[in-house]
């Protein structure tokens, strides 16, 4: 598993995909951050994180679209599947490699908060945050970061699953975008439905709805479990895709 993890991580830096992802992700986050906070003269970062979740819909496929499609095209899949490695190990290696790159980029975007905190400190003068309540809300930011990381993991798992289904990178990317967009947009769609049960169900699935709990600073266990199990579910399904191919 570790060999595959290393290989995948390396391939992000020998191919344009990794650089394109990191470049766009970092640039976009900086841009969105300065527009939503600095230029709007606001300490509220919720909008920034919400926009970033939308950005992930387009960016995550960059990470996942070649994971399995490339192996199929080059026939190197045969190498991995005839090597003494379990299928779970193979899928996890690839998933974790994509997740590592995403996680590092997210960690890097935390630089964005430095100017916000500096400005807040200057505005407060010598007074502490507790008395003035001027500045960004740290628990909220932490909640949002956890949310974004977990949503990213779930998205990567979905992208990994889609790429195991097709041989074409472009098809993998487009299908992934469509699926992710549906998952994110479902919450917006739910608001216009009158039937209570359906609205509840859609709201339950909705990524953004669950994210809003975390982004308001509530440590919502249910949401965290939802994102984690979404990631697990699709990693598991990817393993099944390969197991099934061996069996039929």
């Amino acid at each position: 598993m570790f060999a595959i993890y290393k290989k995948e991580l390396r391939s992000y830096f020998t191919n344009p995909h990794g650089y394109v992802f990191a470049g766009i992700f970092l640039a976009l986050s900086a841009l969105v951050f300065s527009y939503t906070t600095l230029l709007m003269q606001s300490y509220d970062t919720t909008l920034y994180f919400t926009v970033m979740v939308f950005a992930l819909v387009v960016l995550v496929p960059l990470l996942t679209m070649r994971l399995f499609t490339e192996e199929k095209k080059l026939r190197t899949e045969q190498l991995l599947l005839t090597a003494p490695v379990t299928i779970t190990g193979m899928v996890l290696g690839k998933f974790l490699a994509a997740f590592t790159l995403f996680f590092s980029c997210t960690a890097l975007t935390c630089i964005n908060f430095i100017p916000l905190y500096l400005i807040a400190a200057a505005e407060r003068g010598n007074l502490p945050y507790d008395t003035t309540h001027i500045g960004p809300v740290t628990p909220q930011i932490i909640g949002c970061l956890i949310g974004v990381v977990l949503i990213g993991a779930a998205f990567i798992a979905i992208g990994t699953f889609v790429s195991s289904l097709t041989e074409n990178q472009l098809a993998a990317a487009i299908i992934t975008i469509a699926v992710l967009l549906a998952l994110v947009g479902i919450g917006l769609f739910a608001n216009v439905i009158d039937v209570y049960a359906i609205r509840m169900a859609l709201g339950w699935i909705s990524i953004l709805g669950r994210f809003s709990n975390l982004s308001s600073g509530i440590f919502d266990i249910a949401s965290i479990i939802y994102f984690v199990s979404l990631a697990f579910l699709f990693v598991f399904l990817t393993v099944r895709v390969y197991e099934k191919r061996r069996w039929s």
Binding site: K6, T76, T82, A83, P84
Partner: protein
């Protein structure tokens, strides 16, 4: 070492491998031979755990590939039909990746250097696989299969797409591997198995149609004896004379002329040696026999015969194919003859020239 029991594989309603069983002993080099689409690759993919069988068992040194895939895969080095190389890696990176992937415990530097030496890729280790030729990629694929020194090595059509020199190199490599590994090799090139393998298993339409030692298979099917005879005299008379000899089953004149002599292809009935009789009968009639050459049945003939015997329903088609093959072969031998003659003439001219210069 490799044991296959009643292996069957369906792709939907399509039966790719139909109830085949065979065993390969330790240290044996076995050729797995069959026309395209016979089920060779499917069998190899099942053997290596890439696909699973619809029914039947595969044991690698007693380990079931289905119940203990990791254990069984550890013992196999596999080169699929297309070398499974990553184009964006250098040879070194690729081999190191495989070393880690296979969880190899041998000392890394020495082991990889040794393998590179064996397959002769030491000079390209720092180059990107993308920039290597097909022959080199194939060798990198072979190197991959050798990592970890697995006791069983499986090659799926290892010489496809290589130039003649590379083919010879790969074959000699396989032969040397055969000395201390169990090697299973699939191919549709008949010379290859004859050159490399101790034993041939012929598979057609998912069934094993022959399984024997290489020399036995050559002998067993060689039921007719064929000669090229060069005789002086009128073509029609010669043919009539040869036909009159007991034991001759077939005569045909070839369009080759050497002075007043023609070459004829003569086939005898099985178990009859007609050479002496042929000589004396012709000499009695005053027809000088100036050449006699045995034309062995080629592996192609053997292959076609074996496959034919096992598919009565498409007899007509294959008979036609065989006729075409035979015609083609004759054409080739004529070409050789013409080539030889031209070469000889050129030699002579050169000799005469050098003599006149002196």
């Amino acid at each position: 070492m490799i044991k296959i029991e009643r292996l069957t594989k369906n792709y939907g309603s399509n039966l790719a491998v139909d109830d085949i069983s065979f065993e390969v002993g330790a240290g044996e080099t076995v050729g797995f031979l069959g026309p395209n689409g016979a089920g060779k690759s499917t069998t190899m993919n099942i053997l290596t755990g890439y696909l699973s069988a619809s029914a039947g068992r595969v044991l690698i040194d007693g380990v079931d590939i289905l119940s203990d895939p990791i254990g069984a895969k550890k013992m196999i080095g596999y080169l699929p039909e297309q070398p499974p190389v990553y184009l964006d890696m250098t040879v070194d990176e690729y081999l190191n990746f495989n070393y880690e992937l296979k969880g190899c415990k041998l000392p890394r530097e020495e082991h990889l250097a040794e393998i590179c030496d064996v397959v002769k890729i030491s000079d390209v280790r720092r180059r990107l696989i993308k920039n290597l030729s097909k022959g080199y990629r194939q060798r990198v694929g072979v190197a991959q299969a050798l990592i970890g020194n697995p006791p069983v090595i499986i090659f799926d059509e290892p010489t496809v797409g290589l130039d003649p020199k590379q083919i010879i190199e790969i074959r000699s490599l396989i032969r040397s591997l055969g000395k201390n590994h169990t090697v299973l090799l699939s191919t549709h090139i008949l010379q290859e198995v004859a050159a490399v393998c101790d034993r041939i298993i012929i598979i057609n339409k998912g069934k094993i149609v022959a399984d024997a030692k290489t020399e036995n298979i050559t002998r067993a099917v060689d039921t007719s004896r064929r000669f090229n005879v060069k005789v002086c005299g009128n073509q029609k008379d010669v043919i009539d004379t040869i036909k009159s000899i007991a034991g001759v089953s077939y005569v045909e004149a070839l369009a080759q002329k050497d002075g007043d002599a023609y070459t004829y292809t003569v086939e005898s009935e099985p178990g009859v040696d007609i050479r002496k009789k042929l000589f004396f009968t012709l000499s009695d009639k005053g027809m000088a026999m100036i050449g006699l050459e045995a034309v062995g049945m080629s592996l192609e003939d053997i292959f076609i015969t074996v496959v034919d015997k096992n598919q009565g329903e498409s007899d007509k088609k294959t008979a036609k194919y065989e006729r075409q093959q035979r015609r083609g072969r004759r054409q080739r031998s004529i070409e050789n003859e013409i080539g030889d003659t031209l070469y000889r003439e050129a030699e002579q001219r050169r000799r005469e020239q050098s003599e006149s210069e002196e």
